[in-house]
Structures are given as C-alpha cells and as structure tokens.
Amino acid sequence: MENMMGIINVDREQNFLDELTYFRCGAAVPFLGRYRLVDFILSNMVNAGIFEIALFVRNKYRSLFDHLGEGKEWNLDRKVGGLFILPPDWHDPSDVSVGDLRHFHNNIDFFHRGRAEYVLHAGSQHICNINFEKALDKHVRNNADITLIYKNVDEIQEEHQPCHRLEIENDRVTDIYSGGDNKNIYMDMFIIDKGLLMDLVNYCIAHRKDYFFGDAIMARINDFNVQGYEYKGFHGVINSIRSYYKNSMRILKKENYNSLFHEDTLILTKVKDEVPTKYHRESKVINSLVANGCSIKGKVENSIVFRQVEIEEGVEISNSIIMQRDKIGKNAVLNNVILDKEVEVSRETTLVGGKEQPFVAAKRASI
C-alpha cells in the first residue's frame, strides 16, 4: 500500500509500567515471549504494505533503537522509504511548537518527502492484528477526512477507563470523550489525508496547541467528516502493570492465540537465533506460552516464558511472566510474578504476588 505512510507516535507513552519502564519507553517493553509492544503496530503496518514509517520518540529509547535497528526484520531496510526513528534533537530557532506538535514540526520533511497521500498515525499500546488495507479502503470509499479505528469491547474493564470513547452514528464519529459506559474504545489509530494533516499541524502550532489528537481532532470533530472503522479481532490495551499482566494471560486461551498470531499476517520481531526449547525428562509444562532457547526442568503452569530462560529442577512457576535470560534456581516457587530480563532467582526462594497485582522484579535483579 504505497499510498499510506505510517507514524508511530509514542511521545505520551511514558512510565506507565512501573519497574518495566524505569529504563525503557513503553514501546520497548518485552511482551508475549519474544516481542516488544512496538512490534504489533509496526508489523500491522508492514503487513498492510506500508513502507515509509516514522517513530516519534521522546526519551528512554536506547532499547527501542537496539531492537529495531534499521528495520531489517520488518523488511524496512529500504532504499526508498524504510524506517525512520526520530528522536527529539531539535534546533530550529524559530520553532514555537509545543507538546507532541514539536515532532510534526521538526520532522516535516518526512511528510513532504513521502509519496503517500494518506497517513496512518498510531501509538503502541493497543495490541491487535489488524488489516489496515481494509481500513484505508473504507476511508477512501466514504470520502472521510479522518478515520478513527476502534474496538467495541464486551465489557468495560479497568484498562479501558482512561481510553477515549467514540460516539458513532452511521459510521460517523460524532463525539469523542473519556470515561462512562460507552464500549467503543478508540484504539489510538487514525487515518488522515496528508494535506489535511499538514494544515491541522499548522493550525495547532499557530494556536499554541500541544496535543495533536486532542486539539485538532477531538476539539474539531464537527468541522470534518470523521468516520469510525471497527476492528473485530483480539484486542488488549496495555496501560498499567495490571493490564499488562492480564492481557499476557489472556493469550493462553487458544482462540486468543489464534486470533493474534495467524500465519498470513505474522507479528514480526528481532530474530535471536536461539535453539528450540528443551523440555527435560523431569519438566512439566501446561497451558503456557514458551519461546525458544529455554531449558526447562521444573514445573510451569499458566505462564509465559521468554527466550533463553533456565528453569531448574523442582521449580514451580504458575501464573507468571518470566523474561529473557532469567535463571530460576532449584526448588524456587513463583506465583503471580513478573520478572524483567536477566533476573536471577536463587534456589529455594518463594515469590508470590497478588492475583491481579503481580509482584514485579526489575531488570537484572538478584533475588
């Protein structure tokens, strides 16, 4: 889809995952065994044939850069287009823009150089496997100025509370607001005509506005033809440790696994060349998601195990998330726990978190 370019704007996604975001931005947080949050939106864009993609980042982006590189795994190492990670190194003396408008203002060349007529703008917190080609088709067919993508959820959960909701009449978005019982959760993804985007950026800057979505779209909903596009597959919002944990566990239901991971639209990530995981004789693993390169001698139940994890004899892990290169010593017991990368749990240790509020160990902790 050469006609659309992508912006992944993670400017406002900061510090929402406690220990997990001490040293990295939200987009770089490891998720579901081998991914980082950003992989989902990035892969969805690439699967729709979008090959000019910029990332607006604000801070703590070292691990994000390390993960994405030049975008090879996503087929974004291109001569024309490709992946542009745009950190906030801004020196325009005439710059009067504020808030996330600064990204648009200082990277205006990215928009001018791109050949696409449409721009898809998204965050990284809404986990899904979505077909953006269909969304653009509808945008064009309905002569929309802006199309907002949403999920109609079965029930409002805690993590939906802070999300924007869409009031929709015959596909037309008539109001956007937060809170309440409205089940149309805005997924922080919109499609806009590039020309209109440029005009609205200028409008916001001229009026000293600091939040593009709020000031240019929410506040001016009646000035444009704003349409809704409903996404129907697996959807999870990651905006707190509780929602991170809950949505990780949801993937242990086979129908959710199948909905998020299907073969024709793969979620792509950085490849590590790990060996297949070794299940030793004494291991017992049930209802779990396990990545490559692990050695498992203990018991694992209802858990997510990332790459290169070592689980010794007698260990009992349940309802937990064990990240890359963690080492769990003999007879340790872990329940309702999230261990960030490279954590070592010594033998005979017991760690138990709350059922909905798991215990979190920061990266490289030694317990």
Partner: protein
C-alpha cells in the same frame, strides 16, 4: 583486491539414500535439529571463523537451496566486499555445463575465485553437521606451510573402510592416502574439508581437467596427484561432533542426539551460534491437556497432545489425545486428534488425519512419511 581465503561449499548433492527427504530438495537443504537446514552448519562455521567470501555451488534441485541462502544475511554474510555467492553450473565457451565431480565443480569456478585473488581456498561439503573453527585450521595450514590440509577425525576402526583414510607421520604430514580401503591401516578419516594454497590447486585443477580418465574428484584424483608430486599435504585433527547424515536412519539418529542431556554438538553455545533463516513465528503454545517429555519444541507449534523423546520443528500442531514418541516432525506438519506416531520421520507440511497410527510393527525400522502428504490410512 587480494584476500586471505575464499570458502567454496559443495552443495549440489542429491542424497539419494535420504529417500523422500530429498524429494525435490538438494541434500544441503534438508532440515535438521528443529530449525536448521544442513547448510547452516558450514555457513555458520564460515561466519564464526571470520571467512566472509563464500561460494555455494548448487546443481541438483537448487530452488529451495537458492532461496534459502539468498544474499546470506541470516549468517551475517551480506557483505559489501565479498559475502555469499550462489554458483550454479553454466555453459562455457567450450560447451561444458554440468559439474562432473567435486574438483570439476571448483575448476568451473576458477574465474570466480581468481576475482578475489585469495592465498588459500577452503573446500567444504554443504551437508555435514559439525561446529568447527576454520581459522584454527588456517593457522595450522600456514604453520605447516602446507599446499593442502585435510581435516580428519578418528572414526571407529570397523567403520574406517567407509571413508577416505590417511596415514601421517608424527607431524601430521600425510604419508599415504587411501579412498575407502578394504584393509585400513589407520582410523583417521577425511571429513571432506580441504584447505589448499590457491596457486598450486589451480594448476592441479587444470591438469586434472586435461586428463580424460579422471573422475574429477578431490579424493580420487586431485589429492593422489599432489601426493605423487610430493606436495606438502597435512592432516588437521578435528575433535568433536561430526556427522554425515547419509540415510534416513542416521538422519533420525542425528536428530535424537540432540535430546541427550549433554549433547556433544551443543547448539546452545552463545560463543558459536548456528544461524538459520528464521520464519519469525510466535512462541509455541502448550495447552492445558498437553504433556512434553524430553523433547525439543520450536516456535510456532501448538501442542495439545503428548510428546516424548521427539523433535517438533517450527509451525507443527499436535491435536488432543495424540501421542508422538521417538519421532522427528518436520516444519508445518499438522497432526490431528488421537494420532499415534512412534519412531517416525514426518516430512514437511504433511497432514495427518484424526485417529491415524504410524509406526513400524517390529519397532526397529524408522518410518518415513514424505513432504506435503495427506495421511488418511494407518501406516504400520
């Protein structure tokens, strides 16, 4: 520009005794170890040994192999100067085309090698399983001021007559070379890994090509010729895991070797990654009903049955109530519910319907099911 060394990987072999495993597939492209293809071993060895000019000579059924090798990025061999080059046979001015033997294949590519003007050339097989640091072999080769160095491994005496056998003096200088001797006088077997100084090798390749009687093979023709001319030939002793999987049985065994607790091959070595082209599939899913014992499971698998002493390659699914024992299940195989499989190798993307049983009655032979088959009757 001159270079120290160029590696040439002979990857045109058919591997007839692997039967359906090499159906429409060159032997070096055969899957191994849950996620690899055989050619990953020489290519990863080159990459890890710092050899960054690698020619891959293809001939038999090259399509999958060619696309797999591509421009070499999985092995970090996509280089501006050098990198990986797939070298298929071509028609030259004299109308010669197919590669007729290992030496003839290199002869055909003299111009390719000359382009890089190397001091040494390393000849490798594309279908052996081993981890080897070629830079150590090069150091040995240079220290001995050898014209040719042949990597050797000690094999059991009773198997020695299956190999090319070398006799050396105490400095590893080769005194005698016998191809598959009936009555071997040594158990040092050639691994089919040859390092030559390019200058003499080129001369011998040209000379060998002019001899119409020659079978144009390194072991049969070129090395004996160099021996006769009293060239400096040395044996480089290699210790460690090395396997040439020639048959379905040895293919199965080589896979099972990886289930040993201290597998000699140790693929999980952070200092020596074996690279492969990665399909980037999700972590595998082990269902509440599943049981996995002493097995290797790769990404993209969905396991709802029982797996014991087996390898599941990527993207395999096993339905509820199924039992897989002592088996090797190649990529993308779909196994239905209540299936029983014992001591079998199941080919890529094959579909096995519910309730099917696959095993050999006397339990000795390995059952082989080919690629992309649809199995709806028991195979006993």
């Amino acid at each position: 520009m001159s270079n120290e060394i160029v590696a040439m990987v002979l990857a045109g072999g058919h591997g007839t005794r692997l039967k359906d495993l090499t159906d429409e597939l060159a032997k070096p492209a055969v899957h191994y170890g849950g996620k690899y293809r055989l050619i990953d071993f020489p290519l990863s060895n080159c990459s890890n040994s710092g050899i960054d000019i690698v020619g891959v000579l293809t001939q038999y059924e090259p399509f999958i192999l060619n696309t797999y090798v591509g421009h070499g990025s999985p092995w970090d061999l996509d280089r501006r100067d050098g990198g990986i080059f797939v070298l298929p046979p071509y028609v030259d001015e004299e109308g010669r085309n197919w590669y007729r033997g290992t030496a003839n294949a290199i002869y055909h590519n003299i111009r390719f090698i000359d382009e890089f003007d190397p001091e040494h050339v390393l000849i490798l097989s594309g279908d052996h399983i081993y981890k080897m640091d070629y830079s150590k072999m090069l150091k040995f080769h240079k220290e001995k001021a050898a014209d040719a160095t042949i990597s050797v491994i000690e094999v059991p005496w009773e198997e020695a007559s299956r190999f090319g056998i070398l006799n050396t003096d105490e400095n590893y200088k080769i005194k005698e070379f016998e191809e598959k001797p009936e009555d071997p006088s040594s158990n040092l077997a050639s691994m089919g890994i040859y390092m030559f100084r390019w200058e003499p090798l080129k001369k011998y390749l040209i000379k060998d090509e002019q001899n119409e009687e020659s079978s144009n093979d390194f072991g049969n023709d070129v090395l004996p010729m160099m021996m006769k001319d009293k060239k400096r030939l040395f044996a480089y002793p290699f210790e460690g895991y090395w396997k040439d999987v020639g048959t379905v049985e040895s293919f199965w065994e080589a896979n099972m070797d990886l289930l040993e607790d201290d597998s000699e091959l140790n693929l999980d070595d952070p200092g020596w990654h074996v690279y492969s082209r990665n399909p980037n599939l999700p972590p595998h899913f082990i269902s509440p009903e599943a049981e996995v014992i002493n097995s290797l499971v790769n990404e993209g698998c969905v396991v709802e049955g029982k797996i014991e002493n087996s390898l599941l390659y990527y993207g395999v699914s096993v339905g509820e109530g199924s039992e897989i024992v002592d088996s090797v299940i190649l990529p993308g195989v779909k196994i239905g519910k209540n299936v029983k499989i014992k001591k079998a190798v199941i080919g890529e993307k094959t579909v096995i319907q519910d309730g099917i049983e696959i095993s050999c009655q006397n339990g000795e032979k390995i059952v082989l099911i080919g690629n992309e088959e649809e199995i709806s009757v028991n195979v006993l």
